[in-house]
């Protein structure tokens, strides 16, 4: 009896998290177009529904209606696998993020986290690095030189920026003394956020997150001008849709991780995360997430793309030494002022 109720609880939670993730990604595509338009003194899509709110649906229908084309010389299995991996990996990472403390009501007390893995942050870093396989496999299987270039760029970029990201996370782990995301958040009550102790770490982490999401100014794998879309040049219909969608899910998850690890997750001074049946926590977290998604877009519509050598320069000669320095300083700080 006990196990069945756990199973039902978790199933419902998984569905809700999955649904919200897809919903957020869907409306991120809309928000991206709106934000881009506003930054460029335009209005953006406003015809489908009021304020254009039905635009994502229209886009989805359009994607489904397109011809699903597979080039003759493409490696068929891998070609189909590519977007699948990208989408699957993007959806998996939401599992370990603590969306709130716990839902109370109707005689229930459900922790708002799908899986409280005690190595939550490693799980996320691990899945983010699998994410590049979707791009790599898709780009390689397309049997197109541009796509191959893009795949190579994507993988080298991922490798370069994952290092700095991992190093900046180590500093957080040193502060919190735990790899579990729930404990990392629990240690940041009120306004006691990690970002105040790790401003440099946050900067490095966020830059790397932008790079991992393949978003401008690090969108070299799909740069329109040189690679004509890069890894998704040969893709059409919903396979292309999956790639584009996975990017937005990744952005949502990256924002969620940034908010969780550096900005106190569901904590906010003056807001009790247990209030309103435990729904106040998720609301706070989502406000932060939406802010970070906006920040992602803001950066994208401000900055031009880095050149490839600049990208490598920033990654290897800039961020990694800085992250190591940050790690050493944090270590010294923890040693001197240990709680």
């Amino acid at each position: 009896m006990f196990e069945t109720s756990i199973l039902i609880q978790k199933t419902v939670l998984v569905m809700v998290v999955f649904g919200i993730t897809l919903f957020m990604a869907m409306y991120s595509t809309f928000a991206e177009r709106k934000v881009a338009a506003f930054f460029q003194d335009r209005l953006g899509p406003n015809r489908a529904g009021i304020f254009g709110l039905l635009q994502p649906l229209a886009d989805g229908v359009k994607m489904f209606m397109k011809e699903d084309f597979i080039p003759t010389n493409a490696a068929r299995t891998l070609f189909i696998l590519g977007p699948g991996i990208a989408m699957f990996v993007a959806c998996m990472t939401g599992a370990v993020i603590p969306w709130g403390t716990s839902f109370t009501g109707f005689g229930l007390n459900v922790p708002l986290q799908v899986a409280d893995v005690n190595i939550g942050i490693l799980y996320i870093v691990g899945f983010l690095s699998i994410g590049v396989y979707g791009i790599m496999i898709g780009g390689w299987a397309s049997n197109n030189k541009y796509s191959l270039y893009s795949a190579i760029r994507a993988s080298s970029q991922m490798i370069s920026y994952e290092l700095a990201m991992g190093l900046s996370i180590i500093s957080i782990i040193m502060l919190s003394g735990s790899l579990s995301l729930r404990e990392i958040v629990a240690g940041q009550t009120g306004f006691n956020w990690n970002v105040w102790y790790q401003p440099l770490g946050f900067l490095i982490f966020f830059i790397c997150a932008v790079a991992e999401c393949n978003r401008a100014p690090f969108d070299l794998p799909e740069c329109e001008t040189e690679l004509i879309g890069g890894y998704h040049t040969e893709y059409s219909s919903m396979k292309l849709g999956f790639y584009l969608f996975a990017e937005y899910i990744n952005m949502f998850i990256s924002s969620a991780v940034t908010a969780t690890v550096y900005f106190g997750g569901y904590n906010f001074p003056g807001v009790n995360p247990d209030a309103l049946w435990g729904m106040a926590g998720p609301m706070v977290l989502f406000t932060k997430i939406i802010f970070f998604i906006f920040l992602f877009m803001w950066i994208r519509w401000t900055l031009p793309r880095f050149r490839y050598d600049q990208l490598m320069h920033v990654g290897w000669k800039g961020l990694i030494p800085l992250a190591i320095l940050n790690m050493l300083l944090t270590g010294a700080g923890v040693l001197l002022f240990s709680k």
Partner: protein, 173 residues
């Protein structure tokens, strides 16, 4: 030096602040944020229509006078003035009982403008001694077939009812 616009190329090393990119990035983000809250330039076209300039020359109209009689007497001056030879007409004599339709004894039985030939120069309007033809702020609609671009009197002459009249006061000097 022909002009004084030439620039001397300097291979200047970037300063530290320039090399870490961040100050420039924040400056750029400030600029984009200002644009975010700026007034938008978009004109929501079908609902909001931008006013044309008074000198705009679009689809022609054949005017009627206050009593609803056609002004045109088929003198042919517009056709002669037309550099693109877009205007053709056939004149006819006004019969008894048609005084309410045509202002003078002669009128245009057929009056056609080929909108594909027309260059919208406005010389017909300038040539007209009878205040009959004007270019308006309306746009010639697009179409698939060439014959449909030959506009006859059915499309050119304005209606008699006050709401069907075409306002050309801006074109009159």
């Amino acid at each position: 030096m022909l002009t004084n616009r030439s620039k001397v190329v300097v291979n200047k090393q970037m300063t530290f602040l320039e090399r870490i990119y961040l100050p420039a990035i924040f400056k750029g983000m400030g600029i984009t944020l200002r644009h975010f809250f700026k007034k938008k330039n978009t004109v929501a076209y079908p609902e909001v229509q931008r006013e044309f300039s008074p000198v705009y020359r679009g689809l022609h109209v054949l005017k009627r006078d206050e009593q609803g009689r056609e002004n045109c007497t088929a003198c042919g001056l517009c056709a002669v003035a037309c550099p693109a030879e877009a205007i053709t007409m056939t004149a006819a004599e006004r019969q008894k009982g048609e005084e309410k339709l045509y202002r003078e004894e002669k009128y245009a039985a057929v009056y056609e403008i080929n909108m594909l030939r027309c260059i919208f120069c406005g010389l017909c309007e300038e040539a007209c001694p009878k205040d009959a033809i004007y270019l308006t702020d309306r746009i010639v609609p697009s179409d698939y077939e060439r014959p449909s671009f030959i506009f006859g009197k059915d499309l050119l002459v304005e209606g008699i009812a006050p709401e069907q009249r075409v306002d050309v006061s801006k074109r009159k000097k």
